[in-house]
Symmetry: C2
C-alpha cells in the first residue's frame, strides 16, 4: 500500500539520486535549459535550480552566458577518469564469475596482464567451499611458471608474446628466469595450445595443497585476460577438472570476451540506451 509504483528502490538518498539523474541528462543533451532538464527528467524546476547550483559549486557545470543553457565543463572528467580502460574487463567479468562459481564448485578468478606479470583482479574464492588458501585480489602471478601466465602467453598476439618474453629475460624473479631454460617456454605453450588450457610449473605454488588450471579470455582472437580455476591437488587431477568443467570455463570465457568486444566497438558508451528514467511527473 505504501508502495504504489511496484518498482520502489530499497533506499538511497533522494536528492543525491536526482543530482545523478540531472548529470546524466546533461550528458545526453549537453547544453540544456532548466526547463528542458525539467521535462527530460521529470524533476521539478525548483529542484533543478538547486541541483545545478550544487554542480556549479563543484565546477562540473557552467552556464553559457548568452543563452540560458547549462553545459558540462572539462572537470566532469574527474568523476570517471579514475576508471581505467583496463578495468573494463574486470567489471564485465565479475557477474559472469559469480554465476560460474555456482556451476563449478571450485573457485575461479579473473587475471589480467600488467607490468610483465598476471594479476588477479577478481575472485570467487570466498564463495567456494573448497577454498583453503588466502590468495586475494592483487596477487601477482609470474608469466611462464603460473597457469594464468602460460594461458595468456599461449593466446596473445605474436608481437606481444615476443615483447613480454624479451622483458622477462632481464627480470630477477626466479620464476621469470625460467625463460632462459632451453625450450622450456616453447614446450609449455605448445602443450597449452594443444589442450586449450594451461597448468603451472610444479615449482610454483601459491599454496602447497592447491594447483591451478587456466583458460584464456579472447577478445578479437587474442588473449586479453585469463580465467584460472584453483583446485585441491589431493582431491582431483587437472585432467579430471578439465573433463568435468572445461566446457563451462570456456563458455564463461567466451561470454566475457564477446561482451568486452561489444563494449569496445561502441563509439560512445554514454549514449547507449539514451532514455532517462523520469522519476515522477512534477511541475
Amino acid at each position: 500500500m505504501d508502495d504504489p509504483d511496484a518498482k520502489k528502490k530499497a533506499s538511497g538518498m533522494r536528492s543525491a539520486e536526482r543530482l545523478l539523474v540531472v548529470l546524466r541528462a546533461l550528458n545526453i543533451r549537453n547544453g540544456a535549459t532548466v526547463l528542458e532538464l525539467n521535462r527530460d527528467t521529470g524533476i521539478s524546476r525548483q529542484a533543478i535550480y538547486r541541483i545545478l547550483e550544487t554542480l556549479q559549486n563543484f565546477g562540473y557545470v557552467r552556464r553559457q552566458d548568452a543563452t540560458d543553457r547549462f553545459h558540462l565543463t572539462h572537470l566532469v572528467r574527474r568523476l570517471s577518469a579514475g576508471f581505467k580502460d583496463e578495468e573494463w574487463i574486470t567489471d564485465i567479468a565479475a557477474p559472469v564469475l559469480e554465476r560460474l562459481v555456482k556451476e563449478v564448485v571450485w573457485p575461479t578468478e579473473l587475471a589480467v596482464f600488467s607490468d610483465n606479470a598476471m594479476y588477479i583482479r577478481e575472485s570467487t574464492r570466498w564463495r567456494s567451499p573448497f577454498t583453503i588458501d588466502r590468495v586475494t585480489v592483487g596477487q601477482r602471478l609470474p608469466m611462464v611458471a603460473s597457469a594464468s601466465g602460460r594461458a595468456y602467453l599461449a593466446y596473445c598476439s605474436e608481437n606481444e608474446r615476443k615483447t613480454i618474453l624479451d622483458n622477462l629475460s632481464a627480470s630477477e624473479d626466479p620464476f621469470d628466469r625460467l625463460v632462459h631454460r632451453k625450450g622450456y617456454v616453447e614446450r609449455a605453450l605448445e602443450e597449452t595450445r594443444s589442450r586449450g588450457w594451461a597448468t603451472g610449473d610444479e615449482s610454483f605454488r601459491l599454496h602447497p595443497k592447491t594447483e591451478t588450471l587456466a583458460v584464456p579470455i579472447l577478445v578479437a582472437g587474442e588473449a586479453r585476460a585469463v580465467l584460472p580455476l584453483t583446485y585441491i591437488a589431493s582431491a582431483v587431477t587437472a585432467e579430471q577438472i578439465a573433463e568435468r568443467h572445461l566446457t563451462q570455463l570456456q563458455s564463461a570465457a567466451r561470454e566475457i570476451g564477446t561482451k568486452v568486444q561489444m563494449m569496445q566497438s561502441r563509439d560512445d558508451v554514454a549514449n547507449m540506451d539514451a532514455e532517462i528514467t523520469p522519476l515522477r511527473e512534477a511541475g
Copy 2:
C-alpha cells in the same frame, strides 16, 4: 554572523554534495573500503554507506565481493562521456572571453572548426553595449568568406588546409564556391598571414552594418579555434580596431592556447591536484 565558517557556500544540496565528494574520492583511489572513504572525505561512515548504496542503485559502483572494496564500473563514463574533447577549448575560453570583453568593448566570440565550417561556440555579444545583430551560439560561418574561416585556414596545418579546401570544392554553398575563383584563397590567406589577423569577404555579412576581424588560437603552433571580434563598420575601420585591440586579442588567444595545451599534455585530468577537500571531521 550567520556565516561562522567564512568560506560557506552560498547554498547547494548537502547530501548531493557529499555524494559528489565520495564519487571523486573513488576516482582518486579506485577500490576503496567504507572506512578509507570515511578518512579521505571526512564524511561519517553511515553516510558513506548511504551514498554507496545510492551509487550502486545507479550501477556506477560495484562491490568487489572478496575484499570489502568498492569499485567504479564502466557506467560512470555516462557521467562525463557527453562532454566531447572538442568542447574543451570552449570551456577554457569562456572565462578568458569574459575578461576580454571588459577591456575591448566590442563583442568577441570563440569559433571552432567542424563539418567544413566554423561554428560559434561562445559569445560575449550580449555583454557588449555595441552589439546590434542577433547572431548567437551555433551560428555557422563559411571557411573562405568569413574572417573566422580565413584565420583558421591561414594558421592550421598544411595537411588540414589541403583537406578542407578539397572538401569545400564539392560544396554547394555559394560562399564555399569561392574556392574555385583563381588565386582567391591564396590572396586571402597571404594577406591574413602578413597582418596576423583576418577579415571577411565583403559579400559575406551576417548583419549589414557589422564587420568582423579574427585572430587564430594556436595550440602547439597550429590553429585549433579562432577569436573573432565584431564591430560596427560605420563607426570604425578594421585597421583602427587592429591598432587599438590587436595586442589584447592576441594575448587572449595566446592565453587560451597555452591553457588548452597544458590540459592536453596531462595524462590524467582526474588526478591533478588530487587532494579531496574534506567537508568536516566526523566519526
